[in-house]
Symmetry: C2
Subunit: 406 residues, 2 copies
């Protein structure tokens, strides 16, 4: 896949910006993405029964008019558990932007991330929208400012763009996302925004996104806590000039590949930047009877606190991995399982048919000392596989979350 | 309920001991419980697909002959993921004890806890059994030595005994258990042994135990990891002289109350002594539509890493609690929920109908600074309720589990 500079502003016709609107102390806390050309919109949202107000607002658009010109995002306050007042503030935010741009309020998506239970400071938010409008830019730098502004406990901004040729035209897909706690997406991750200049029918846009989140955001976990705010939005403004994709043809396949690449990249970035994390921890289950079994097993391991603490300690404590597979709910034969650890430092078979190979602990620790480590479990029942991404569990995860509000 | 001194040796006719058999360095690591009179046996075991060898051995007895004279326990090595060799060592251990006591091997239960994946040092185990036989004693002190010998990362031994009058006779129920990591029982907890001198039909003994674990051990969580070794055994030797309980009459009810008291006490002790824990965290869900809903909601909150880290930080971060209820899988109306924090320092309403009451953060922190804190969620849908127990998530949990094997 051909990567290129930039994130949400990489696709033609998209502008963005990030600013400090005074919600957080001395940090950027608002971002905007805007396309002059109307976009077809697809979205996936948290399955949490407790849905933040912006999730409800965006669902109204994604399931309703299905078009928008942009997104207003704030960090610092999640606008979750805020009742009718909170939902009213989503509307006020959208109305403010709509007034400035001369569009309808139902063409403005909103998203929030931060502390649950507080009302957003609506005056600061509206002033932030006014401040951002004249600063919107199609530059890569503006995209990065937006990616920085949506960060909460993230340590790095997360953005990527790729291009593919569709019908003789260069089509770009770019995105940004933020983690990095309360990450155990079930439908989509915390916040992720993807823009594209592809011309594609809205139903196919939604279909491509819904399929893509299953193998990307839905396969990561930082702490097992599925957020109230998980939102993934995909905006397509058709500015690339490609022939409209109206069926699942070759162009659709290429578009899906580009979208998957962007989403998987952003998902892995989020996992690696999990709160307090020192490592990306990848879990591959191979040889499964079916995809569902592979997914269940991989997610159970990547979510296991004991396994994650062992990975932090560079301890090849494989019993915890087999144990986590065992309580996952999936059926398999523990006495058939082979397990490997792999990283830039090498690959090592740890257990064969459920028992230790008598591997070298020293070599295992060397492999587990890299920044990205993979556990591969072969359950030898069939051909299905799945990959999940998470991170290690560290002192800093506890520190960050014991002190979060103070 | 009338508590009395002692644990597994409190009931008539039971002896016990704990010794250092050289499996661990300079610590007690083997325990035995023995009754000269044959016991009817009930048991509940882990639902993990990966079952340790001793679980398989004990299931053979509990589902087979249903009688035993005692249990041999070791800590240090779990005898899990050890294949046919590991199961063979269970048999050898039982045979050794059987030979010494002149009983059948299938009347000796075994249990192990510790590191997964290593074979138990069978010669040390057999020598340990020989060493323990002449030391067995009915004293309370001997029961405590046994309770100490089964500890791994536990910081305190856990034992209790109670008495009830059944048919004019004093009947005793006593028990011991150990945690304190890989605790998220699904059927039963890590290791728990309960003895009673009650005379009760085996089917009723099993029925009472199976019902009791649902509201005790199955309602605690330290880290969400369901162990491969979870075992709860109940031995009844009929030495109290009470008329045999053969139906669910008043005596049965009183026996069940005593058993529940012992199991709930031991379960809460395990939660409070969770690895690295500084606090017992109790979650009560009230006003639920049915028991299942209440259980699902309570367990989800008590298992949430983010909530547990906030409890460690004495932070009334109620949004995390509502969030954890939201992703539990249970349906409810977030905008109806009232939430309270309660401890020895007082009780405070934090949210009403899903939004903040504007409570005093200072007062909330005071309440959360106690050693045992309770969150009460009223979902206002019906009359069902459930209580779950867990602990806070601390730096020490990570430390213990990053270093466990070294």
């Amino acid at each position: 896949m051909q990567e290129k500079m930039g994130g949400v502003t990489a696709a033609k016709g998209f502008t963005a910006i990030g600013v400090a609107a005074g919600i957080k102390k001395d940090r950027k806390d608002m971002a905007m993405i805007y396309s002059e050309a109307e976009c077809r919109v697809a979205g996936t949202f948290t399955t949490n029964v407790v849905k933040a107000a912006p999730v409800k607002w965006d669902q109204g658009i994604v399931y309703g008019n299905k078009t928008a010109h942009g997104v207003v995002v704030n960090s610092g306050v999640a606008n979750a558990c805020t009742g009718a007042e909170g939902l009213g503030y989503c509307k006020e935010t959208a109305e403010k932007a709509a007034e400035l741009f001369g569009i309808e309020a139902n063409q403005v998506l909103v998203a929030s991330t931060g502390v649950i239970g507080q009302q957003i400071p609506i005056d600061k938010i509206k002033a932030g929208v006014e401040k951002m409008k004249p600063l919107l830019s199609a530059s890569a730098a503006a995209g990065t400012l937006a990616a920085e502004a949506i960060m909460t406990t993230d340590t790095v901004e997360k953005e990527i763009a790729v291009e593919v040729e569709l019908g003789g035209k260069i089509v770009t897909v770019g995105g940004m996302s933020k983690g990095s706690g309360m990450i155990h997406p079930n439908m989509c991750t915390m916040l992720s925004f993807v823009t594209t200049d592809a011309c594609i029918a809205q139903e196919l846009l939604q279909k491509a996104l819904s399929a893509s989140v299953v193998d990307s955001y839905n396969m990561i976990s930082v702490d097992g806590d599925t957020s109230t705010n998980d939102t993934c939005l995909l905006l397509a403004n058709a500015q690339a000039g490609n022939p409209e994709i109206t069926e699942e043809n070759e162009d659709y396949t290429k578009f899906v590949e580009a979208l998957n690449y962007v989403n998987t990249y952003l998902a892995k970035k989020m996992a690696a930047d999990g709160e307090g994390a020192t490592k990306l921890f990848e879990v591959k289950v191979i040889g499964a009877e079916n995809k569902e079994q592979a997914v269940t097993l991989a997610k159970s391991v990547v979510t296991s606190n004991l396994t994650k603490a062992a990975i932090y300690g560079r301890d090849a404590n494989w019993g915890r991995i087999l144990c986590a597979m065992g309580y996952s709910g999936a059926q398999f034969d523990p006495e058939k399982v082979d397990l490997y650890f792999e990283s830039a430092a090498g690959k090592l078979k740890i257990i064969e048919n459920g028992v230790s190979t008598g591997y070298s602990e020293e070599e295992a620790t060397k492999i587990l000392s890299e920044d990205a480590v993979t556990a591969i479990a072969d359950v030898k029942l069939g051909d299905a596989c799945a990959t999940a991404w998470g991170c290690d569990l560290t002192y800093d995860y506890v520190k960050i979350n014991a002190d979060y509000r103070s």
